[in-house]
């Protein structure tokens, strides 16, 4: 991934729906155009976070399998 996130939320070790709620909290604080990345060890986040990103009309930059955790990256577009 070559985009550098403006905000990184490390929600590793937190269980569903913790990581998604953290992402939503960061989204509320972010400005339009910011890139937010969330780290999660909870497999559910891989599905839940992209579903929320799509429903809220934001842009999903990517879902990445890292070493022992997932990274979900979004861009706040509105």
């Amino acid at each position: 991934m070559d985009v550098k996130p403006d905000r990184v939320i490390d929600a590793r070790g937190s269980y569903c729906p913790g990581p998604l709620m953290e992402l939503i909290k960061a989204y509320k604080q972010a400005k339009v155009g910011e890139i937010i990345s969330v780290y999660s060890t909870d497999a559910g986040t891989k599905k839940d976070a992209p579903a929320w990103i799509s429903k809220s009309g934001q842009e999903l930059v990517g879902v990445f399998d890292r070493n022992g955790y997932y990274e979900i990256v979004m861009k706040k577009v509105k």
Binding site: S14, Y15, C16, P17, G18, L20, M21, I24, K25, Y27, K28, G44, K47, D48, A51, W52, K55, S56, G57
Partner: protein, 378 residues
Amino acid sequence: MASKVLIVGDGDAGTIMANKLRFHTDIKDVEITVVGNSKEHYFKPDGVHISFSMIDYKRSVKPTEFLFNYGVNYVRDEVTRIDVADKTVSTKSGRNLDYDYLIIATGDRFTPEDIPGYETDAKHFYDLPHALELQKEIKSFKGGKIVIGQASIPIMCPPAPYEFTFLLEEYLNFHGLKDKTEIHYIYPLNRVFTIPNVSDFVAKRMEERGIITHTLFNVESVDPKNKKIQSLEGESINYDLLVLIPPHRGQKVITDSGLADDSGYIDVDKYKLNYKDYDNVFAIGDATNLPVSKAGATAHFQSMYLSNRIASETSGNIYNELYEGDVACTTVTGYEKGVTLYFNYNKPPKAKFDSKLDYFLKWQSADTFFSSMVRGVA
């Protein structure tokens, strides 16, 4: 000299903890003090039934002071600061209480101010005054569109919104109002409950009963003028009656004392319940940010673990057991139908069928609670 155990908070967690520890320890060895600011102990699960006038609220309330067993000192006061470095707890009336062991059990706080428009129009059943107010609304309801859900996650007793919804549907049916009413259920995640298998069970039942669901609905604001609720995701729904569980946070004193995460909850060790590297400071019940349901049943299991541990330690023994995240919670799924959810950190609950027996467990739980559980017996 006796070890001093100080418990902050006189709700479910603080009371059960004090009474259990009293059973396990000798008054000569362990001095137990609870400091809390409530006059009455309200059994919150009854709020669901009270809303539909299905039980008399008077059976759900007891004087707080009356619930402590012999040998527990109770101080009614409001805690204004907790200083874990200095091992003192200060109160509004100017007391400074010291301790060898501190247990924080201050529970949740509602923050309706987090949702613009909430306070003007939204109703809920999460405390007694609001449950009684909602009871009146429901009694005078003649049909229309009801929106029900929670404003955010986490909340106390995550199943309570679906419990309310199922009873509402039965109530409307019974009073011949079902055909004149639309029930809309909103939920912040992309399902109708946090735990997928319970969610499947609840979603199926909602569909069978004609309840319209809106998932991924995180409430942004309420517009009382146009009777509309708006989500962060860009959806809006009109309502005639809005039943919305307010946002929750931990108590302000926890934040003011520098012990909280940004939602006001205390980060404690998942298995040992102690705060950071303090081996004499613990948090239990809704005050923690543990990945378990905020429930009285959670507080009950945590008190079992912690009272055993402190009793062992104060008598010079080593205690190696761990708290495994256990919860057992009976929830209403309809009139005379209930399902009991058992789970811990490693095993999610299973919901396959509901039963009348489970419903009656729930129905009489205030009696069980006040006569045995809160007393530390069960």
